[in-house]
Amino acid sequence: MNKFPGMFQSSSLTFCFSVVCAALCLVNSSASADDWGTIKGRFTFGGTPPASLEIKADKDIEVCGKHKLLNEELVVGADKGIANVVIFVRDKNVKVHPDLAKTKSEKVILDNRDCRFHPHVAVLQTGQAFVLKNSDTVGHNSNVATIKNPASNNLIPSGGEVSQTLSSDEAIPAQVNCNIHPWMKAWLVVRPNPYATVTAADGSFEIKNLPAGELELQLWHEKAGFIQEFTVGGKSEKVAKGRKKVTITPAGIDLGEMVISAGAFTK
């Protein structure tokens, strides 16, 4: 069961992830298959996943109290897939597939809806239009704690929106909070290229049209920080600072099911 209704509906344009995927699907057929490849994989939870903690809204109860709010720091699906693991290409000057360029003109929306942020992790390219929106009937604010970009904290009245662009990329996702509703938290991934994604509810991810050759992936999760260790096919693999080197081939690579032990999330 999808615990986060609306989060991974492919029709929703509010999700960068979906946008990127859709764009990737479109361009794949036209690009030269020799130079580009796909990477995919899946993150799962090793051990018994903790029960998801319900958050009891204590503010604007008539609006926020209607929805079941959960602590989204660690979201593990029924099949132990870990959602919201961030995967992006660390190299900043990586060659971008020509047809992916237009993804940059799409808007990325981080919506305050039902007293939570939609999506929980937003993926943004530098220079891309970023819209902070409030679809709720109560006021929200979005306290964006970027490191390389100027931090901002705007009040977004009900039905309103604030748009901005971020010019520098961020090496780790930046935290977004709502001070009015302190339980609300989201993350913002800002990269100089479109090669960034977040795992779906089942823990799977896919990045298409990566340039062939060696690349360095950054693996990150909000509770675990850098994902430094996981098990693939029973074999333990250590990745210092969550930086995994991969070699992209036109045939595409599959990292397989990467099991992260429960211990990594107890920090």
Partner: protein, 1538 residues
């Protein structure tokens, strides 16, 4: 008598005599000349001249190096390039058009046009150069001719004006002569026509003027490029020529050498003594003040020299050895300059050697360093001598070349050992920004040297200048080198280095003005200031008055005296039985005088009342009360310092006999960190009878003191617990209360090792103090609730602990919880070896009798004294008797012990001057018991009783070195205070004379114990002591003091007095009575603290120089200084940051990233002037720029320690060695980096760690407790809300008070400090209520205003005016209503803020201050800015930007621009009360149902009416929760107990 050839004397003999005397005269003349020629200071002057010449030459070399030539060439090329470039066609065309407007130049203009065309098509550069030159010349000629014509036109204009003036004058003359109209008309006509001519000429002139200006402007534009290139080149060349000139001026030449020849040098020699004449800074020469002549600069010629281009960097620093790691190129460089080693060196590293060294010709001395080169970045500097390379000594330059260019592993850094600086006396003064420098506060020309350093300024030789050695070793070296000796006859010898800060006190009477300031962030006199604070903390002034006033108009030094003890007097009076009949106001007056706020008026009235009573004839009040009344009168210059110890007025309500006994016997036994000194058991100097007496009498003295204290103790009313408490007291909850409710801001406790503040006592064993008595826990509870009930002036504030509703619904009393926790904190300490409280054994009784007799003997003849002791004092005699002896009236066998103990106790307390630190009933009028210290620094050593202490100290040290190894372990413990084991050591050592403090110091430098004959005749006669311990045989510091002690100098006396005050009784107890012994207790100082105290005391000389030299701060600065003293007294900085950290970083350009572009309200833009911007763009030799950051490093939310990140801002892991470490820094003041402003609140700066290492970090003032709690409150909140944002936690903690002066209104702050209200509901602790006097509060308010440069005491802002609203309403109808719509809209302010009786429901942590009270609290300007962008004022705040700068919001609420909306909100908040009163009800504005108005406060003992049942009551519960913020994470959302 016939004339003979015979002479009176034998001529031959006379010739011989004459010849011999001539020769002698010649020899002596020559000798005289030779001695004069060879005066030592001349040598120094010559050497210094060489040094100066060398530095100038090095500067030339640096300019002259190959890079200089390269730059010259480059600049020349640029110039040629500019001169051969084609003219800017647009400008040229403009010129032609402009020039053509004047047809006179038509021909010339055509020619110009032709030339322009030719030039454009000309290929050859040389041709172009000529052509262009001609062309420009032609253009200039045209402009010149235009100027000529303009001048002609101006001349014409002048002429016409003159004619017009004449015509007008003619007409006016006509008018005044009453000429006929017919005569006047033509005159008027002429004047009119002349006026028209003037107008015409004016037009022509204007035209010519603008024509010329245009032409000249265009010519300037045409040549702009080449002129700037030419200027760069000229500047570049001038630098060198200036330097070359300096070299020429400095270098010796034939003329100078001639004048320095013997004999000739008596006349106008370039070498001559330098002299500073200081007529104002007089020197007291035996009762006569004479002008001061300082000739120190004769030898110390470089003392005021600063490095080129810097006003305060030393030109010549003192020698030191540095380690430098010099990176090498990856492979051996191959260059054309193979032959020249210096050039190769420059190629490889960017530096060169001087052809020969300065002080030693073979030295490898660096003379050139290219800016930005490897050498510059490694930290090499011009003048450095390379002493070692990779551990190998470098003896010549060829060796250095070899090691640097041949025999090395390329690519691997070389480790160099570098000697930097120059030897004495050539060095420059340290801190030229502070001393000696021309722009410093103490310029050499006006202050000279000896006013600070002392010594004999008029002397030009080392030995007679009274230099003072800092260690015996240095003295010895000086003796060998200069024949130095300790000149006892000069009463003002130079201060040794260790005490050089003492002199500051002559002019800096407030002492706190020597703490770091904005201008001088580097502490100016840290040791002295530490000494001052120690004197304050340990309350030395309780016994030793330090009176800073010679008379009420003349300040002579620091003033440290006890404040008048009105409240003690009032409390004493309050129990006078005679008051029963007094009328109402009297009791009120007494209460007011007893209270902290010091009711001045009440005091006067009370005194008058008592005086009237005394004079009335049938007095109802007791004689004691009459006596005390005089103490209520305010002295002319009252002291200001409180007694440092706790009040003992109600001591029996608090502690019992056992604890008191243990405490008095040795305070460190119970509390190792106590500041209370030790009075008893100081026996190490005693033996025989003296020791015997001490052992017998001291226990009796302790018992008797306790008897008196408990007997005299006044009754105390305990605070009763709150009613309605349903939760049982809980130790864990209590621990949390102690942790978060503020205790740790002042107290330490073993359970919280990170809390380091020691403003209040250590609490780890506090339970053991109170467990001895029945009421101990009641007392502790009362103390926690209302400390001022026990002591109205106590520094312990009321932390306002009120009942808290726990998550399970029960009500707990945090004070009760804390009490049970603290009562359990004992560390298993118990009083041990305590005698029975209520009975004396025979031996004790005998000692008691003996002691009593000692006192009685002082008062009565021996026989009578014995009689009184035996039978007591008869009632009739006692009734008339004054003094303590009255206590013996009616003594009988039954009450004998008790009465004698009481009597002896009273005497002992007086003897030991306990009332200097404590409020003790019966001692309200006691006077300080010790020697006054106001001029102790000048006390003549002949007036100091050294007694036999030298023998004692030497004996002690000798025996220590005999078994140094054996006693090492135990004796080191003496110096370490603070650990519990120490207490045991102290206790067990108490009776052992051989347990020696400082014996660990002995033999530290055992190689120094060569007792040379030279040492023997230095300062003291070592031979007279049959010992082998000398100042040279011990460590240098001890040696220094030992030398001073043996030489009977005051430093030595003071040292030993602080180490072992009673040791001056050594071998003296045999012939003095027990009560005549020295009484000073031993303070628990370590060596460093002792020296700091000495620095302060030695500086108390009471010799203020002329008023213009005394530091007289401005009114604003004065306010800051007063505030600092008060803030320290109440430990404001324990919780709050009063000043943020300051980081003066030195960074590589661009290494802090680029400044982000931010669009915000223009009035929030940072302001930096051109000069500051230019300054921030200067790159130093090491290729770094300097920036000043003020703020705080971002803390890790888990550990609370500063967070380290990599260059991307990613937190560093412990094992990460690859990433470049950076600090994350939160700015609290706008900074300027690389010429660009960085704003507060925009983003955290990523500061490379090396930029901070290369710069300086100055820690701010205060805020430790907030930092301590930061991770704690985050962890607590995470249990409720895992998504909490770390920055938000700052909003729950004591806020930094940066900008407080500009933020709040003075009157509000004054009231708030006296009676704090709740401002931010989200805080985990409340601002406590301090027992401040009204003037203390004023001082603090003035402090904040002064620090921020805010208006004080009254502030004006037009926004306060009601008329403003009328105007605003006119221009924008519905101005305030619109604002109120925004405030109350569901999206905006009331989302988080309290407003009136409306409280937004939800988590306490997200609640914001009451808006209704903003108009009382905040300054309008602050409110305006804050609403615009809160983060600009508090970078951590969670308050969002509600009204963005460029996008006005919700027009349906308030239609208008962003600025209008801001103004409206500010106006509303600043006039909220008036507005609210006018608009009857707020209800309409709330979509939600407002809560019911609050019922009147419940009368039942403060129990919170938080237990209601109805829905409305429930809502009010939330509001009440705010007032009683639970210390532990408990909020409406939490389900379980924390």
């Amino acid at each position: 008598m016939p004339a003979t050839e015979q002479t009176w004397r034998n001529l031959k003999a006379l010739h011989v005599v004459f010849a011999i005397t001539s020769i002698l005269l010649l020899i002596s003349t020559i000798a005289m000349l030779a001695i004069d020629h060879n005066r030592p200071w001349k040598k120094y002057q010559r050497e210094f001249r060489n040094l100066e010449t060398w530095s100038a030459r090095a500067a030339v070399d640096e300019q002259d190096s190959r890079s200089y030539e390269a730059t010259t060439k480059l600049l020349e090329e640029k110039l040629t390039e500019a001169r051969t470039a084609p003219l800017d066609s647009a400008i040229a065309a403009q010129f032609v058009i402009q020039a053509k407007t004047d047809p006179v130049d038509a021909v010339a203009v055509d020619r110009v046009q032709q030339d322009i065309d030719v030039l454009a098509s000309q290929q050859s550069a040389s041709e172009r150069l000529v052509l262009r030159g001609d062309l420009l010349q032609r253009c200039r000629d045209i402009a010149k001719r235009a100027r000529y014509r303009e001048e002609l036109a101006a001349g014409q204009l002048k002429l016409r004006k003159a004619e017009f003036d004449k015509a007008r004058a003619d007409y006016e003359l006509g008018v005044s002569d009453d000429a006929a109209e017919s005569e006047l008309a033509p005159l008027l006509l002429i004047a009119d026509s002349k006026r028209a001519e003037v107008a015409d000429a004016g037009l022509i002139n204007q035209g010519a003027n603008s024509h010329r200006k245009n032409l000249e402007g265009l010519v300037r534009q045409m040549v702009a490029a080449e002129e700037s290139a030419a200027k760069l080149l000229a500047d570049h060349r001038q630098k060198l020529s200036l330097l070359a000139k300096t070299v020429k001026d400095r270098a010796p030449n034939v003329g100078k050498s001639l004048l320095e020849l013997p004999v000739l040098d008596a006349f106008n020699s370039p070498l001559r003594p330098d002299q500073l004449w200081l007529p104002q800074l007089t020197l007291n020469n035996n009762f006569r003040d004479v002008a001061r002549f300082d000739r120190c600069t004769t030898c110390h010629k470089g003392i005021d020299k600063s490095a080129p281009g810097s006003p305060d960097e030393q030109a010549y620093q003192e020698q030191e050895i540095l380690a430098v790691s010099l990176p090498t190129p990856s492979s051996k460089p191959i260059g054309e300059s193979a032959g020249n080693e210096n050039n190769r060196l420059e190629d490889a590293y960017g530096f060169q050697f001087s052809p020969r060294g300065l002080f030693h010709s073979e030295d490898s001395m660096v003379s050139v360093i290219l800016p930005g080169s490897v050498a510059a970045e490694a930290g090499l500097a011009v003048g450095d001598v390379i002493a070692e390379i990779e551990g190998g000594r470098i003896l010549s330059q060829s060796m250095a070349f070899q090691s640097l260019l041949e025999t090395l592993t390329w690519g691997k850094p070389l480790m160099l050992s570098v000697r930097r600086g120059v030897p004495q006396p050539y060095t420059s003064h340290p801190r030229l920004d502070l001393y000696v420098g021309g722009s410093s506060p103490h310029p050499m020309q006006s202050f000279g040297c000896t006013i600070c350093h002392q010594g004999q300024g008029s002397s030009t030789s080392f030995e007679w200048a009274s230099h003072s050695s800092n260690t015996p070793k240095q003295g010895l070296a000086w003796h060998k080198e200069y024949g130095w000796f300790n000149n006892h006859h000069w009463i003002l010898p130079m201060l040794p280095q260790r005490f050089d800060q003492s002199s500051c006190l002559k002019c800096h009477h407030q002492v706190v003005d020597l703490e770091p300031t904005e201008r001088f962030p580097e502490p100016p006199a840290p040791k002295l200031v530490e000494g001052y604070h120690l004197v304050r903390q340990y309350g030395c002034y309780g016994c030793h008055e330090i009176n800073g006033w010679a008379n009420p108009d003349k300040r002579i030094g620091p003033d440290m005296r006890l404040a008048p003890n009105y409240h003690e007097v009032a409390q004493s009076i309050s129990i006078d039985p005679g008051l029963a009949s007094a009328s109402g106001p009297v009791t009120r007056w007494i209460d007011e005088v007893s209270s902290a706020t010091d009711g001045k008026q009440a005091r006067e009235r009370l005194r008058e009342y008592i005086d009237r009573d005394a004079a009335s004839g049938n007095a109802t009040l007791s004689p004691r009360t009459h006596q005390l009344a005089s103490l209520l009168k305010e002295p002319e210059t009252p002291g200001t310092f409180p007694k440092v110890g706790p009040s003992l007025r109600h001591v029996s309500s608090k502690v019992g006999f056992d604890w008191l006994y243990a405490w008095l016997r040795n305070p460190t036994d119970f509390r190792p960190s106590t500041k209370m000194p030790r009075f008893f058991g100081l026996w190490e100097h005693l033996s025989g009878k003296g020791l015997e007496e001490s052992k017998l009498y001291e226990p009796i003295e302790i018992r008797s003191m306790i008897t008196y204290l408990l007997n005299a103790s006044q009754p105390f009313e305990y605070v009763l617990p709150f009613e309605g408490i349903t939760a049982k007291p809980d130790i864990e909850r209590g621990k949390k209360v102690v942790q978060v409710r503020g205790c740790l801001a002042c107290h330490q406790h073993a359970d919280f090792p990170d809390a380091k503040n020691n403003h209040g006592p250590h609490l780890s064993r506090i339970g053991a103090k109170f467990s001895g008595t029945k009421q101990g826990s009641d007392w502790l509870y009362s103390w926690l609730r209302e400390p001022n009930r026990y002591h109205p002036r106590t520094l312990m504030p009321n932390v306002l602990l009120t009942p808290v509703k726990l998550p399970d619904g029960s009500i707990s009393d945090p004070a009760l919880d804390a009490t049970v926790y603290l009562m359990g904190s004992t560390e298993n300490w118990k009083p041990s070896d305590i005698p029975a409280a209520d009975s004396l054994v025979e031996q004790e009784r005998q000692s008691l009798n003996e002691l009593a007799l000692l006192y009685l003997k002082d008062r009565f003849p021996l026989v009578q004294a014995k009689e009184y002791l035996e039978h007591g004092i008869p009632a009739d005699v006692g009734a008339l008797m004054q003094g303590d002896e009255r206590l013996l009236t009616g003594m009988m066998d039954a009450n004998r012990d008790g009465i004698l103990l009481d009597y002896v106790g009273r005497k002992t307390i007086a003897k030991l001057a306990c009332a200097g630190c404590h409020d003790i009933p019966g001692y309200e009028d006691s006077k300080p018991a010790g020697a006054a210290l106001a001029d102790w620094g000048r006390k003549e050593s002949s007036k100091i009783a050294f007694e036999q202490v030298s023998n004692f100290v030497l004996g002690q040290m000798n025996s220590a070195s005999h078994h140094a190894h054996a006693s090492h372990e135990t004796s080191t413990k003496h110096d370490v205070h603070g650990t519990l084991h120490d207490a045991d050591a102290h206790a067990s050592d108490a009776g052992h004379a051989d347990a020696l403090p400082h014996s660990s110091d002995v033999n530290k430098e055992s190689d120094e114990n060569s007792d040379t004959p030279v040492a023997a005749d230095l300062a003291y006669a070592a031979g007279s002591h049959a010992s082998h311990t000398t100042p040279h045989s011990v460590d240098p510091d001890t040696g220094y003091f030992l030398e001073k002690l043996l030489g009977h100098e005051r430093e030595g006396f003071l040292w030993q007095k602080l180490r072992a005050p009673r040791s001056y009784d050594y071998k003296k107890t045999e012939n003095k009575s027990y009560n005549e012994r020295y009484r000073m207790p031993k303070f628990p100082f370590d060596d460093k603290q002792r020296e700091a105290v000495m620095t302060f005391v030695l500086g108390l000389v009471s010799e203020p120089p002329a008023p213009q030299f005394i530091n007289q701060p401005s009114i604003q600065e004065q306010a800051r200084l007063h505030g600092l003293v008060v803030a320290e007294q109440y430990n404001c900085g324990g919780c709050h940051s009063l000043e943020m950290d300051r980081w003066d970083i030195r960074h590589k350009p661009g290494s802090l990233g680029e400044a982000p572009t931010i669009s915000d309200y223009p009035f929030l833009s940072p302001h930096f002037n051109e000069q500051e911007i230019a300054q921030s763009l200067i790159t130093d030799r090491k290729g770094r720029r300097q920036s000043t950051l003020r703020g705080a490093p971002v803390l890790d939310e888990k550990t609370g320690t500063p967070q380290m990140v990599d260059e991307d801002g990613v937190p560093l892991t412990a094992d990460d060695t690859e990433s470049v470490p950076h600090h994350l820094f939160m700015l609290y003041r706008d900074a300027l980096i690389d010429g660009e402003a960085r704003r507060v609140g925009a983003q955290n700066l990523l500061v490379p760690k090396d930029a901070l290492l290369a710069g300086t970090e100055y820690r701010g003032r205060g805020g430790d407790f907030a930092r301590l709690l930061f991770p704690v409150v985050i962890a607590d909140e995470k249990q409720i809300n895992p998504n909490v944002k770390a920055d938000d936690a700052w909003g729950w903690l004591p806020p930094p008070l940066i900008g407080e002066g500009k933020k709040v209104q003075s009157s509000w702050l004054h009231r708030f400090l006296l009676n704090p209200e709740i401002i931010r509901p989200a805080t985990v602790l409340r601002m406590p209520k301090f027992n401040l006097s009204s003037s203390d509060s004023s001082s603090l308010v003035a402090y904040f205003a002064s620090v921020d440069g805010a208006d004080y005491p009254y502030e004006y802002d037009p926004r306060f005016e009601d008329s403003r609203l009328v105007e605003a309403e006119k221009s924008h109808p519905g101005h305030l209503e619109g604002a109120l719509r925004i405030v109350t809209n569901n999206n905006y302010c009331v989302k988080c803020h309290l407003l009136g009786n409306y409280a937004p429901p939800g988590n306490l942590k997200a609640l914001a201050p009451q808006l209704e009270r903003v108009h009382q609290r905040l300054r309008p300007d602050y409110v305006h800015g804050w609403i615009a962008n809160p983060r600009r004022f508090l970078p951590y705040t969670g308050m969002p930007v509600n009204i963005p700068f460029d996008k006005p919001v919700s027009q349906d609420l308030y239609s208008g621009s962003s600025d209008q909306q801001l103004d409206a909100l500010t106006d509303l908040l600043m006039h909220f009360d008036g507005f609210a009163k006018k608009n009857l009800s707020l209800d309409a504005y709330f979509k939600q149902q407002p809560v019911a108005p609050e019922p009147p406060p419940s009368s039942a003992a403060n129990v919170q009416p938080a237990l209601g049942l109805s829905a409305i009551e429930e809502k009010r519960v939330d509001l009440q929760e705010l007032i009683t913020t639970p210390p532990s994470p408990s909020s409406p959302t939490s389900e379980k107990l924390p």
